[in-house]
């Protein structure tokens, strides 16, 4: 092959390659414009603010409401009980101060559970809610290993109770966690725990759209010193606390 032929064929190969590459590039652009449209559809980013100073120690209204609304299994054995929402009592090492903290799925912006799920059964919705597809979960429990907040629970046993017939219960063998009552939120309602807390008169839990700067939750987060649990992990939780 002489030099001219070589240059010619090289040129051909390069132009052919670049033409071939053009196609996926343009289809990528199309896909991303579709994504934008989708993003506009869900302008919400749901978050929660829990004011620990207003949470009264003996009150369990939110816990009961959550369990009833979502048919969360309670077997009476701490090894296998499922808690989408749970209260822990803390004591500060230095000051000796005691407080109760409400714990639930943090609906992380970077959820490690969704990252590790081998079947994409755990995923983050566009409105930020981290949710489990219980028809897809294979029960490998890798998400429980990856969750740094111990917020995920496995159905070790069949759940005998089914108080809320409007919402499914889960079979044994799948993992579950708080989903901000997505089924209620989608209908414009508040999560069951928030409603119950309001009814009890404490009003310690605020739920709202973090994308909207004028929402109650965004303004309160901007005005008050808030904390999230283990922010150092880079998971960007969307559950904020006052008084932690």
């Amino acid at each position: 092959m002489d030099r001219r032929k070589f240059l010619k064929s090289t040129g051909l190969v390069i132009s052919a390659t670049s033409t071939a590459l053009q196609l996926p590039v343009s289809s990528c652009q199309m896909a991303s414009s579709g994504m934008d449209r989708k993003r506009k559809l869900s302008e919400n980013k749901w978050g929660m603010l829990i004011d620990l100073n207003r949470c009264s120690p003996g009150c369990t209204e939110c816990l009961t409401a959550c369990r009833r609304e979502n048919n969360v299994a309670f077997h009476g054995d701490e090894r296998w009980d499922v808690h989408w929402l749970r209260k822990v009592n803390l004591k500060d090492h230095q000051t000796g101060n005691k407080k109760d903290v409400l714990l639930l799925c943090n609906h992380c912006e970077n959820p490690p559970c969704a990252q590790v799920c081998p079947v994409q059964a755990t995923y983050k919705r566009e409105d930020g809610i981290v949710i489990v597809d219980h028809h897809r979960c294979i029960g490998c429990r890798y998400c429980m290993i990856a969750c740094p907040y111990n917020a995920r629970f496995f159905n070790f046993k069949e759940n005998p109770d089914w108080p809320n017939k409007d919402y499914p219960k889960r079979s044994h063998g799948v993992v579950e966690s708080c989903n901000f009552c997505a089924h209620r939120v989608d209908q414009g309602m508040k999560p069951a725990c928030v409603e119950a807390c309001e009814k009890s008169g404490n009003g310690a839990i605020l739920f709202g759209n973090l994308n909207d700067r004028d929402s109650d939750i965004s303004r309160k987060i901007a005005a008050t010193p808030v904390k999230r649990i283990r922010e150092d992990l880079g998971t960007e939780p969307k559950v904020y606390y006052i008084g932690l």
Binding site: E78, R79, W80, D81, V82, H83, R86, K87, V88, N89, L90, K91, D92, H93, Q94, K98, V101, L103, P112, Q115, V116, C117, P118, V119, Q120, A121, R136, C137, I138, G139, C140, R141, Y142, M144, I145, A146, P148, Y149, N150, F153, F154, N155, F156, K157, E158, S171, H172, G173, V174, V175, I229, R230, L233, T235, L244
Partner: protein, 410 residues
């Protein structure tokens, strides 16, 4: 030198008893897995705080074992060391079986076994180590089959290519397996040294097991095995792998213990409970230091009974190590509220314990039963085992009858 392979006769009562026991174990495993599938995994010793237990530990133990077998097989396959040709087939077959055992252990541990065969393929998640690894494992098994076929058909070139591919693939497989743990934000898991440490321990346990299998096999079938081959495997291969594994593990723990941010977790691992006993006695003393010394001393390192003893210790040590990878990282809780103490809770928040249940044990034994059965059946129906193994080609001129019985496996 022509190496001859032959099926084993398998007519002794011992063979049939062994097959029957293994089949019973396998059935017990099927029974317990069925029970768990119907009634739930509460029948295992696992809890919401320790969601992985024996089966995952055994899975990574088996997967690790396959590496060492492949390396022994690769001595002939890749490096053309003719004296190791007798081991090549059986090592490749074992590597395949161990991978199957690993996959079976993972499979039987799932909450919804019925979904495992479809969902991971239709909803593949590239960012999940649990998605990537099964692809690595199944690829591994496929290459092992091709490799075995090449060995059976004496395809020189294909043997070399398949052997090299499967050894490189094995590094991927074992790094991936280590990454299942290393790539999650848990204090005792999250360490970039875990994958290399996993590979090192895999190689040492695999080489040790090969020594045990080869010596036992040749002895039970009354075939001749040149001691110098086993001595080389022990004093060269196993010893090097063992020291590498020990080294990486020491660095990993020292680093964790030294840094203030992980000191508490490091302390828990080293001195925090029963698992610490497994670490110091099972892994460090029995599984590493004693065999290392025994291999180093010429008198014990060159005696077959001592070599077998050392190899058994290494396998026990790595079994402890696998358990130590999985369980302490879970029983040690992530510290959600630094500087504060949890005084009341509905789920155990602090350090918890894990105990193995009988049903879980049956599952683990069941997997052993399955691969043990397949191994013995393989020996009977495939020409896996060589009729003899000699270190020096020149010795092949000597007929078997001329070899003193005392020179065979001691």
């Amino acid at each position: 030198m022509e190496v001859k392979f032959a099926k084993i006769e398998a007519k002794s009562p011992a063979y049939f008893i062994a097959m029957a026991v293994l089949a019973l174990l396998a059935l017990a495993g099927v029974y317990s897995t069925y029970q768990m599938h119907v009634h739930g995994l509460y029948l295992s010793g696992m809890t919401n705080r320790v969601p992985w237990g024996v089966q995952i530990s055994m899975a990574i133990f088996y997967i690790g074992l396959s590496a060492g077998s492949l390396v022994v097989s690769g001595l002939y396959g890749i490096f053309g060391k003719l004296e190791y040709k007798p081991f090549a087939r059986i090592a490749a077959y074992l590597a395949m079986l161990f991978l199957i055992a690993g996959l079976l252990s993972i499979l039987t541990d799932q909450g919804r076994v019925d979904r495992v065969f479809v969902k991971p393929f239709t909803y593949f998640n590239l960012s999940s180590m649990f998605s990537i690894n099964p692809s690595l494992y199944s690829g591994h098994i496929m290459i092992c089959i091709i490799y075995l076929w090449a060995l059976f058909r004496e395809k020189g070139r294909l043997t070399k290519i398949a052997s090299l591919t499967v050894c490189l693939w094995a590094i991927g497989t074992h790094t991936g397996t280590g990454a299942i743990f290393a790539f999650v934000p848990r204090e005792l898991y999250n360490s970039s040294l875990l994958p290399p440490s996993f590979v090192a321990a895999a190689l040492s346990s695999g080489a040790a097991l090969m020594i045990l299998v080869m010596v036992a096999l040749f002895r039970l079938t009354k075939r001749y095995l040149d001691p110098s081959l086993v001595i080389w495997l022990g004093r060269r291969l196993l010893a090097v792998f063992l020291l590498c594994a020990l080294y990486v593990m020491l660095i990993e723990n020292a680093h964790r213990y030294y840094l203030a941010e992980s000191h508490e977790a490091g302390y828990y691992f080293l001195f925090g409970g029963f698992h610490s006993f497994l670490f110091w006695i099972g892994l460090i003393f029995v599984g590493s230091v004693v065999p290392a010394v025994l291999l180093f001393i010429r008198r014990t390192g060159e005696s077959i009974p001592w070599l077998v003893f050392s190899a058994s210790l290494v396998v026990i040590g790595v079994l402890c190590e696998r358990f130590l990878i999985v369980v302490p990282g879970l029983t040690h809780a992530p510290d959600l509220f630094p500087g504060m103490e949890v005084t009341g809770t509905v789920v155990p928040e602090g350090i918890v314990t894990y105990s193995i249940s009988f049903m879980e044990m049956l599952q683990a034994l069941g997997v052993f039963g399955v691969i043990g059965f397949l191994f013995l059946a393989g020996l009977k129906y495939m020409p896996l085992a060589p009729t003899k193994a000699l270190a020096n080609n020149a010795v092949s001129a000597v007929t078997e009858s001329e070899l003193r019985p005392s020179a065979s496996v001691a």
